[in-house]
């Protein structure tokens, strides 16, 4: 195969500049690290019944990951604990050498999508408190996400209201694979609360909706599930547009995280074409789908798609908008994108600055 080797000069200049990393995954050192923030009742519940999601195994996925803890082999802290659980090591391995000036924390396996809704609320609240106590309170470069039990819209909205105005938090975090598509009305209290709190809503790939990752049933392999996150993101964005979320919440900002980005233009074109043909079905939409997406949706880079030649991505970015793309590494996971190497493209300095820093500051309201 004719593989184009990365043009490294552009990337190597980049590491000297400050960047925003819009997808960092912190983990508790152990489940007990959350206990100071979790009521006794739920501590006992956790020990007795565990974290029950809409998946079959007590722990671990039915598609075993590609690496232990889905992590880089070198990301296990020397002092023990899971990758992403040691702030000092994260500073040394990632924040300092990669010049991360702004890092958005997206804690996974943090109570979202639990079958027991009361437990989910309690666990999400605990993780929110833990992020402030252990991470953002100690490291000003990091910003937390408001985790919510999204399957209960009003309950999720209450947690957003609790955190509104707290500068530790930069966004509300949802997962992509929900019990119903995210455009549906049951989720609208979340969007209303986020809009009121002036927080973007981040939607991170993964989740526990219980449905097959494809519309055609369960695939066999982890690679299919990983590739499938982009398809799930296409479907949830379709739902948000067509149900009228953006029409109804014109100040809502949505950030799509860890599903790549190159799929977005083709989805916009298809939605515009279908909407043009079927628009009598959705009279609540006043404009073509692509316009809502262009104005209210941001998207993170990782995992960066890899065309041959790489320059095809310049078309893709132009179709998405240079002001809508947010660099992300996914640290400490195995498919980490290195800021020096992941986008080997002849960016201008201005383009580079937007994708690697300014767009994130804008969408997260941290500019200037």
């Amino acid at each position: 195969m004719n593989v184009q080797v990365a043009v490294r000069e552009a990337g190597q200049q980049a590491v000297a500049q400050a960047i925003a990393d819009c997808d960092i995954h912190p983990y508790p050192k152990s489940p007990k690290a959350l206990y100071p923030f979790l009521e006794r009742r739920w501590q006992r519940h956790l020990e007795t019944y565990g974290l029950r999601t809409r998946q079959g195994y007590e722990s671990g996925p039915a598609y075993p990951k590609g690496q232990p803890e889905a992590a880089r082999r070198d990301a296990f802290p020397p002092g023990g604990g899971k990758p992403g659980s040691d702030l000092d090591f994260m500073r040394k391995q990632h924040l300092d050498p990669n010049h991360v000036a702004l890092g958005i924390l997206n804690p996974l396996r943090s109570g979202q999508g639990l079958q027991n809704g009361d437990f989910a609320h309690a666990y999400c609240r605990a993780v929110n408190d833990w992020q402030v106590a252990e991470w953002t309170g100690k490291e000003p470069r990091l910003k937390a996400s408001v985790l919510v039990h999204y399957e209960d819209g009003p309950g999720a909205a209450a947690e957003i209201e609790r955190r509104a105005g707290d500068a530790n938090f930069a966004q509300v975090l949802l997962l992509s694979r929900t019990a119903e598509p995210l455009g549906q009305r049951r989720y609208w209290p979340i969007y209303a609360a986020a809009e009121r709190a002036n927080l973007p809503v981040g939607v991170h790939a993964f989740g526990y909706g219980g449905y097959p990752v494809t519309g055609a049933g369960w695939p066999s392999y982890y690679i299919e599930e990983m590739v499938g996150h982009s398809q799930c993101c296409q479907s949830l964005l379709t739902s948000m547009v067509i149900e009228g979320v953006f029409e109804h919440f014109p100040r809502l900002r949505v950030v799509l995280i860890e599903a790549g980005f190159a799929w977005l233009p083709a989805l916009k074109w298809r939605l515009d074409k279908i909407w043009g043909r079927l628009r009598d079905e959705t009279p609540h939409l006043k404009r073509p789908p692509s316009e809502y997406i262009r104005e209210q949706v941001w998207i993170t880079t990782q995992p960066v798609e890899e065309p041959e030649p790489r320059k095809h991505l310049l078309d893709t970015i132009e179709w998405i908008g240079w002001d809508r793309l947010l660099f992300a590494t996914d640290y400490p996971h195995w498919d980490f994108d290195d800021p020096a190497r992941a986008l080997p493209l002849p960016f201008t300095d201005a383009q580079h600055r937007r994708v690697f820093l300014d767009n994130a500051r804008t969408v997260y309201g941290l500019a200037g």
């Binding site: 195969m1 590609g66 992509s176 929900t178 019990a179 119903e180 598509p181 995210l182 455009g183 909706g209 449905y211 097959p212 990752v213 494809t214 519309g215 055609a216 049933g217 369960w218 695939p219 066999s220 392999y221 982890y222 690679i223 990983m226 590739v227 499938g228 982009s230 398809q231 799930c232 296409q234 479907s235 949830l236 379709t238 739902s239 067509i242 149900e243 790549g260 190159a262 799929w263 233009p265 083709a266 074109w269 298809r270 939605l271 515009d272 074409k273 279908i274 043909r277 079927l278 079905e281 959705t282 995992p303 798609e305 890899e306 065309p307 095809h312 078309d315 893709t316 179709w319 195995w334």
Partner: protein
């Protein structure tokens, strides 16, 4: 861009079964009685609501009836109008939605016999895809064996969404039979509705359902490649029909990246996904999900292969207006490939005179 290439081959048109009554002569007694005794409804799928704008272009609708049920109209509107030498009929009567394997097999057989007698016998420019009871792959393979003797059947028809992803081994008897007879597997938009049409649950609007078809094609391409279908059946061609294709480059970039990282999980997939697509997978032209301007040309550049697209009108579905079945400003040699050469390369049975 309008077309009247005299030798063109239209790889996706939809003559319709007017109703269960039309199948009665082709059903055995048991199923004939069952229709009456159980008061069976038509097998009309919600994938194409009869009056939805996409289902039939206004000028392609038959007065007072289902679009695609009148042969003279189809001759005039689909064959003569675009100068097609041949056209492949993909009958979308929803036998794939049934839960009973026996019932699905009985009605699939009737649909195929109906197509042969009522359409292929009466119009020599028509070819057809074999409708199979995908609910039971062994029975599906039997139906392929039965129909393959008639060389006017040029392909096997499956829907893009069913019980399981199409790469799964359970479906391989279908691919073995198809490869044996030189029949491509044509995967068409539509669903058995065994699962929500999206990976995130059931949507509210038909608009979302139709959008979800293109997403499902991405999943199926992933499945076929990752399960090793093309390693096992290297001669097999798969044609994605009414799939759209502007999503293809981005999807292959993503799949190839993960294949580089995770290929030890699927060691039988030993060449890059894009190479497999170039060798084994084709796409019908309509619908073209791209805005006017240079986008289509740039997408073709991203695909980097001029052998993937097969001309289709998707008649009577409403994908374009007037005669504009091709995008603007295509180079002449590419038009010839799309209209004639690529279909001929894909369907070996189109090269030889059809033999009854």
């Amino acid at each position: 861009m309008s077309v009247r290439a005299p030798e063109s081959i239209d790889c996706d048109i939809h003559p319709a079964v007017p109703g269960l009554q039309a199948l009665l002569p082709y059903l055995d007694d048991h199923w004939r009685e069952t229709i009456v005794q159980r008061g069976m409804h038509e097998f009309s799928s919600i994938a194409y609501p009869e009056n939805a704008p996409i289902t039939a272009r206004p000028d392609f609708r038959v007065n007072g009836g289902k679009a695609g049920t009148d042969l003279d109209q189809l001759r005039d509107q689909a064959l003569d109008r675009f100068g097609s030498r041949l056209a492949i009929c993909n009958c979308l009567y929803g036998v794939q939605l049934l839960f009973s394997e026996d019932m699905a097999a009985g009605f699939a057989r009737a649909v195929n016999d109906y197509m042969a007698r009522e359409w292929l016998d009466r119009e020599p420019r028509l070819r057809a895809s074999i409708v199979v009871p995908v609910q039971n792959p062994e029975m599906a393979a039997d139906e392929i064996e039965r129909c393959a003797k008639d060389r006017r059947f040029v392909q096997v028809l499956m829907l893009v969404m069913g019980d399981m992803p199409l790469g799964r081994r359970i479906y391989w008897p279908i691919y073995a039979a198809a490869e044996r007879h030189g029949l491509p597997i044509g995967i068409h938009a539509g669903s058995g509705y065994r699962h929500p049409v999206t990976g995130v649950g059931w949507p509210s609007y038909y608009t979302e359902d139709y959008a979800a078809q293109a997403v499902a094609f991405q999943s199926q391409l992933t499945s076929l490649i990752c399960e090793g279908v093309f390693s096992k059946f290297p001669e097999l061609k798969v044609v994605l029909m009414e799939s759209g294709f502007t999503w293809l480059p981005a999807h292959l970039w993503r799949l190839t990246k993960y294949w580089r990282g995770l290929r030890t999980e699927i060691p039988w997939t030993d060449v890059a996904p894009i190479e497999i697509v170039r060798r084994n997978v084709r796409f019908t032209l309509q619908p073209i999900d791209a805005p006017p301007g240079d986008t289509f040309a740039r997408i073709l550049d991203h695909i980097g292969c001029d052998e993937l697209l097969l001309f289709s009108t998707d008649y009577p579905h409403w994908q374009f207006d007037g005669d504009a079945a091709l995008p603007e400003a295509l180079p002449g040699d590419l038009v010839r490939k799309i209209m004639i050469e690529n279909p001929q390369q894909t369907y070996p049975r189109l090269l030889k005179e059809a033999v009854r």
